[in-house]
């Protein structure tokens, strides 16, 4: 999922202070899984914002809506019933959702309530870790299912570097050395020989480096 963390209240309050009526929109997918912007978090943030305003003798009208997801126009369209009754929108979705709302409702200010972080998976409930960088040319087949682009601090494709210590990355003893993990997995799979095959310089065009990307499926358009 795409992970996110709620922005500090100070920053969010700065966004909404000029307004009297806002639409607070949550998302039922990724940000629900990582407990950052689902229906519950919408309720929590709404309460916090209203109380912050009331404490200052002001009122904030918060309309709470949680869409199935915010990255599809069909769902964002559902907001038309509410949009004219508010002055601004505060979205708890990832950056994709925030932008989709901004695209659809061009004359309404839209603010992000969360900081979108990374594409990752749950290590366990409450702990999410980065797994994928969206490089566009997946090499997981040759690295035993562990991605060095996302999980090696230096994104080495022929690691490990000389700083690998006890299976941990030199920058932080809590970060696994991706290449230690890869080597261990290659051994488990009997693929040690793979290690010495040199992975050539990557073509980063398939990644964000080639410019913002687009997928077109003509069979679905």
């Amino acid at each position: 999922m795409i992970t996110a963390v709620r922005k500090p209240m100070e920053e969010i309050l700065e966004f909404v202070l000029p307004y009297k009526r806002i639409l607070l929109v949550g998302c039922n997918e990724c940000v629900t899984v990582c407990a950052a912007g689902g229906r519950k978090e919408v309720g929590i943030l709404s309460s916090a914002l209203q109380m912050a305003f009331m404490k200052q003798g002001k009122t904030l009208d918060v309309r709470e809506v949680t869409l199935e997801r915010q990255c599809d126009p069909e769902y964002v369209e559902q907001l038309v019933t509410e949009i004219d009754r508010v002055d601004a929108v505060l979205s708890m979705a990832c950056g994709c959702g925030v932008q989709e709302i901004a695209r659809r409702f061009k004359d309404k200010a839209v603010f992000p309530a969360v900081n979108t972080q990374f594409m990752g998976a749950s290590e366990r409930h409450g702990v999410w870790v980065e797994r994928c960088q969206g490089c566009g040319d997946c090499i997981l087949g040759i690295t035993g299912g562990i991605c060095p682009v996302a999980r090696c601090s230096k994104r080495l494709l022929n690691g490990p570097c000389g700083g690998s210590t006890n299976g941990k990355c030199e920058i932080n003893p809590e970060v696994d050395c991706a290449w230690q993990l890869i080597w261990d997995r290659l051994k488990m799979l009997g693929l040690e020989k793979r290690y010495e095959e040199i992975v050539s310089a990557k073509d980063w065009r398939t990644s964000r480096d080639g410019g913002p990307r687009r997928i077109i499926r003509e069979d679905l358009e």
Partner: protein, 307 residues
């Protein structure tokens, strides 16, 4: 001889080579690099110039190498892949070669986390092995990494670093094999204090004939004090300092610790001379360059062969 590198000349002629190292200044002060290099004149076949070492901004290695070349000495351009993409690296290599620099060391580089700009975006367009491949391609095929022909293609004598002491140990010979397969001509190892472990690594290296495919230079760093020994043992990743070394340093009075450190360095060199496959020494005496001449002389490596 594949290049005009002074280091290659010494090694190809069968002599034990000596290289040393200078760190450029944290400012636009060329005198600092000139002073350090002058201390090494006549004592080293090549002088490494570090590249934003430990991810701290310093005068660029290329500029410092040019100053050293202009002094009639032989710099070794260190290049890390952390700060430059393949365009910038090839561009710098052309510049270096144009200035008569024929030797370089290819590294990935310490993570910015450690440095003075942890907020910087990392580049890491290539890793060290891909950089070696690229530089080798420039030399052998006369082409840029992207495929186009180079005018007066640079012929670099290509070095790589090896760390027999990093984890996992079982991979360290395989990693060396990869770097040599990618095209490395010479290797400089991390500084050695654990001779037993180093010799185990060399046994693995020799078993695969790697010592015949690339010249291996053993890394030597003299300890200045017992405190330095402890720091390197506990705080530096990828460094192996046995207790005996720390105890030996601590067992001497403070005023004599520096001398003891030099003694240990010279003894290490003498012992490593007997290890088959060791073709020279890379003496890193950071901010203590003035001790290099004494170490080189005491280890019987002076005078340096002249060509």
């Amino acid at each position: 001889m594949v290049t005009e590198s002074a280091l290659e000349k010494v090694l190809a002629a069968g002599h034990l080579a000596v290289t040393s190292e200078c760190g450029p200044p944290r400012g636009a002060v060329p005198e600092k690099i000139q002073e350090k290099a002058e201390l090494l004149r006549g004592y080293a076949d090549g002088i490494n110039v570090t590249d934003n070492q430990t991810a701290m901004v310093r005068m660029c290695s290329l500029a410092a190498c040019i100053y050293i070349r202009q002094m009639g000495l032989h710099p070794i351009l260190q290049m890390v892949t952390r700060d430059r993409n393949r365009l910038a690296m090839q561009s710098d290599i052309l510049g270096a070669y144009a200035h008569g620099i024929h030797t370089m060391l290819c590294l990935s580089g310490d993570h910015p986390y450690f440095g003075d700009h942890p907020m910087a975006a990392n580049v890491y367009d290539l890793d060290s092995i891909q950089l070696i491949q690229m530089v080798r391609g420039m030399r052998d095929q006369g082409r840029f990494q992207g495929g186009d022909e180079i005018l007066n293609a640079p012929k670099m004598f290509i070095g790589a670093a090896a760390n027999p002491f990093a984890d996992p140990f079982e991979l360290r010979v395989a990693r060396l094999a990869k770097k040599i397969k990618a095209g490395a001509d010479f290797i400089q190892t991390q500084c050695i204090y654990n001779l037993e472990k180093f010799e185990r690594w060399m046994a693995g290296v020799r078993e695969r004939g790697l010592h015949k495919k690339a010249y291996i230079l053993a890394g030597i760093t003299p300890m200045k004090s017992a405190g330095m020994a402890r720091y390197m043992k506990n705080k530096v990743p990828g460094m192996d300092v046995p207790d005996e070394v720390v105890n030996r340093m601590a067992g001497v009075s403070k005023e004599n610790q520096a001398k003891e450190g030099i003694k240990i360095a010279v003894e290490t060199i003498e012992r490593l001379k007997t290890v088959e496959g060791v073709m020279g020494f890379h003496i890193m005496a950071i901010e203590w360059e003035q001790m290099v001449p004494e170490i080189v002389e005491s280890a019987g490596l002076y005078p340096r062969p002249q060509f």
